[in-house]
């Protein structure tokens, strides 16, 4: 039973890491109705900017500020050169534009900062907490706990921002209908630049956490793969949904990886491990059958 809880808690904490990436998707979808295919690439760019600045002599705090400026400028440039011409175009057109953007970042970022994998030390060692290990014989990582704290703060701030600020309300209005928002005087260009800048900040936080955990390298772009089932489950428009979805996906995939293969092996023989890659997607698809809008997604009603 002890082992079960160890896997469960480990999974929940991993889920928070997925949710950090999923948040970036939610932000942009919530504010512009665009599924941003480039979010994984933005995570990579943000982390690479931090280590790139540090390699040029900047201390960590300054590197983070510089990376934030880079991500903000990137957001503004994306609005100006990619999205501005696509206002009122169908969502699929905007989606295709973000695919192009993803490949552009994946090519440009290593060209500017180099492609070799690098360590990112943020002062938190990924080691078990000794007290829990000794008293309960359970491995709970210090790093994962800090990541959870960061995610909690981020979600709270974002939820408050969307709910209680003028910009937040404007973001939601734009997401509902570009034309209607424009007609009541909401400056669409500014709103999109802001939301891409905020998504860049979320990508920076996610990139630093994932980069500190696994090294800063091209594979950070794959973190998006972990975020997709989280989005399906939590809903594309809900910030708390991203967290809850992350927790469910993280815990279920870890438990599945541990407990399903032995059952399959005893039934069919062979080796059935390594199911973590696809299991979350199956789970998310099953959820879709029951709740197509996800756990916290807004129900879409079209009037005839």
């Amino acid at each position: 039973m002890n082992f079960f809880f160890e896997v469960l808690i480990g999974g929940l904490l991993s889920g928070v890491m997925y949710a950090l990436v999923a948040l970036g998707f939610v932000l942009i979808f919530k504010a512009s109705g665009v599924f941003n295919f480039a979010q994984g690439a933005m995570v990579y760019l943000a982390a690479l900017s931090v280590v790139g600045c540090m390699e040029h002599g900047a201390p960590l705090w300054l590197a983070i500020i510089l990376a934030f400026i880079i991500m903000t400028l990137f957001g503004i440039a994306t609005e100006k050169f990619v999205l501005r011409k696509l206002v009122n175009q169908p969502p699929i057109t905007l989606f295709m534009a973000t695919i192009g953007l993803a490949f552009f970042i994946e090519g440009l970022a290593p060209m500017v900062f180099g492609s070799e994998p690098r360590a990112l030390e943020i002062g938190i060692v990924d080691e078990p907490i000794e007290a829990i290990l000794e008293s309960a014989n359970m491995v709970i990582s210090k790093f994962d706990l800090v990541a959870s704290g960061v995610a909690a703060v981020l979600v709270t701030v974002l939820a408050l921002f969307f709910q209680y600020t003028r910009v937040g309300r404007a973001l939601r209005a734009v997401a509902d209908d570009h034309q209607a928002a424009l007609s009541i005087g909401i400056p669409l260009q500014h709103i999109w630049a802001i939301v891409w800048g905020v998504a860049g900040f979320v990508a920076l936080v996610a990139g630093m956490m994932w980069g500190a955990r696994n090294g800063v390298q091209f594979a950070l772009t794959f973190t998006a793969l972990k975020a997709l089932p989280v989005l399906i489950l939590g809903g594309f428009t809900s910030v708390p949904g991203a967290i809850v979805g992350g927790l469910i996906i993280g815990a279920s995939e870890k438990l599945a990886e541990i407990y399903i293969p032995p059952v399959m092996q005893s039934a069919f023989g062979g080796n059935f491990g390594g199911i973590e890659g696809w299991f979350p997607y199956v789970l998310a698809l099953l959820f879709l059958l029951v709740r197509p809008e996800g756990l916290f997604g807004e129900k879409h009603i079209d009037r005839v």
Binding site: V7, G11, P117, E121, V125, G215
Partner: protein, 440 residues
């Protein structure tokens, strides 16, 4: 008249001789380089193909080519993508008709995709430390060369290393095999199962889904299993993730031995302090202490013709591996020239013969300035591997340090597995194996 014609005749003769010399000097040996420098594994490709090309440049600068034949090459970017690998091959094979150095795709997937094409086009395919391992049996795979050593022999050599550490007895010990859930990761399973039966240790297999950037469940399982050792078959981000995850669950890194694709600076530097003590197999050593590596830096980079943008990578594991691969290729060309004519460019067919008759002894390695860089290699028709030896190295926090001599896997146990697999392949494809006795 005679007096007038004599100098003219002499001048004409000199011109002809110069022309002939010029024609000889113009002989070129073309290398189609199907590689990658961008994409998910671009960093690995940069170091490795950098080392490969630097050695070709070195041969040109240092000795004017192989017996006067200059090495030339053209690169095509695959991004480690099988479809692009085939596209690159098709693009470059036309240029490789007159002369062809071996192709090194540095990808098991691309190797599998090219194995039949290259054989049909008579272009040798080198798979040094990767690729289709039953191609060790050259009677079935005349154009494919899994040179130096294979995954199975490597796994067997790692078992030998831990057996030596356990004073020759592994009975009752538990070994976890943590692997990338792909053809690459699964390749050594049969060999490890055979070793487990032979040495009576318990083998627990744990796969990791691609790309391997999340291994929490696997390492909790490892913690529960309490193994004596973890043999680890990772690639790319899976390597750093595993090293960090081992730290997270408190598994000692010096009981964790990776494959040679999980044992470069790219894998350890980014894992930070967690990598200290971690071990891996390797078929080439790192560092600039190897004379040829130091001389390449002096000659090639001194002439401003180095291939690496970042010269600090000189002497890293993958850079030195690129040099090792190039040495094998150039030596095959040299060998082929001994048979088919010195100073001539060699066709793919002729280079194939050279690769099948390599005999790189310690003495030859010394002449090349490559003592200890790679093991001795002697290939034959029925052994396209030629060595089967690896060293075990350990990360000391800043560099790789060899902690063993060259260790050979259990050939008697492993090579029959290759032969059985090659026989099956020949049966499926309707191939009549060559009679290797006649090739000697």
């Amino acid at each position: 008249m005679t007096k007038i014609f004599k100098p003219a005749f002499a001048a004409a003769a000199v011109s002809l001789a110069l022309f002939a010399q010029g024609a000889t000097a113009a002989e070129e040996q073309f290398f189609p380089i199907i590689g990658y420098r961008v994409g998910p594994y671009g960093a690995n490709g940069q170091s490795l193909f950098g080392g490969f090309i630097d050695y070709l440049s070195y041969v040109n600068l240092k000795e004017g080519g192989v017996n006067g034949v200059k090495m030339t090459w053209e690169e095509c970017e695959t991004e480690y993508n099988n479809a692009k690998g085939v596209e690159c091959y098709e693009r470059l094979k036309g240029k490789a008709k007159a002369s062809a150095g071996p192709i090194h795709p540095l990808s098991t997937g691309i190797s599998y995709a090219l194995i039949e094409k290259a054989s049909a086009d008579k272009i040798p395919l080198a798979m040094v430390g990767y690729g289709r391992t039953d191609a060790v049996d050259g009677s079935v795979f005349p154009y494919a060369f899994p040179l130096v050593t294979t995954y199975q022999m490597q796994a067997s050599a790692i078992v030998k290393f831990i057996k030596d550490k356990e004073k020759g007895n592994l009975a009752g010990k538990k070994v976890v095999f943590l692997y990338h859930d792909s053809a690459y990761g699964k390749e050594p399973i049969l060999a490890l199962e055979a070793e487990s039966r032979l040495n009576k240790f318990d083998l627990v297999q744990i796969p990791v889904a691609h790309p391997g950037n999340e291994q929490g469940a696997q390492w909790l399982k490892i913690r529960q299993e309490k193994p004596d050792y973890v043999i680890f078959w990772g690639w790319g981000v899976m390597n750093q993730t595993a090293i960090k995850a081992a730290q997270k669950v408190g598994f000692p890194r010096d009981k964790m031995i990776g494959s040679w694709w999980a044992g470069s600076e790219e894998d350890t530097v980014s894992a930070g302090d967690a990598a200290k003590g971690y071990m891996s197999a390797t078929f080439n050593v790192s560092g600039k202490a190897v004379p040829v590596v130091a001389d390449i830096e002096k000659v090639v980079y001194g002439a401003g013709k180095g291939n690496l943008q970042d010269a600090s990578k000189i002497g890293t594991i993958l850079y030195n591996r690129g040099i090792s691969m190039a040495i094998l290729s150039v030596e095959a060309i040299r060998k082929a020239q001994e048979k088919y004519g010195k100073g001539k460019a060699m066709t793919g067919e002729q280079v194939r013969w050279g690769m099948e008759n390599l005999n790189i002894t310690e003495a030859r390695l010394k002449q090349l300035g490559a003592t200890n860089l790679l093991p001795e290699v002697k290939t034959t028709c029925d052994n396209h591997e030629g060595s089967g030896k690896v060293k075990i190295q350990q990360w000391d926090g800043s560099k790789w340090v060899a902690v063993s001599e060259w260790l050979e896997g259990n050939k008697g146990l492993i090579h029959p597995l290759f032969q059985a697999s090659a026989k099956q392949y020949a049966k499926e494809k309707g191939i009549t194996p060559r009679d290797c006795a006649k090739e000697k």
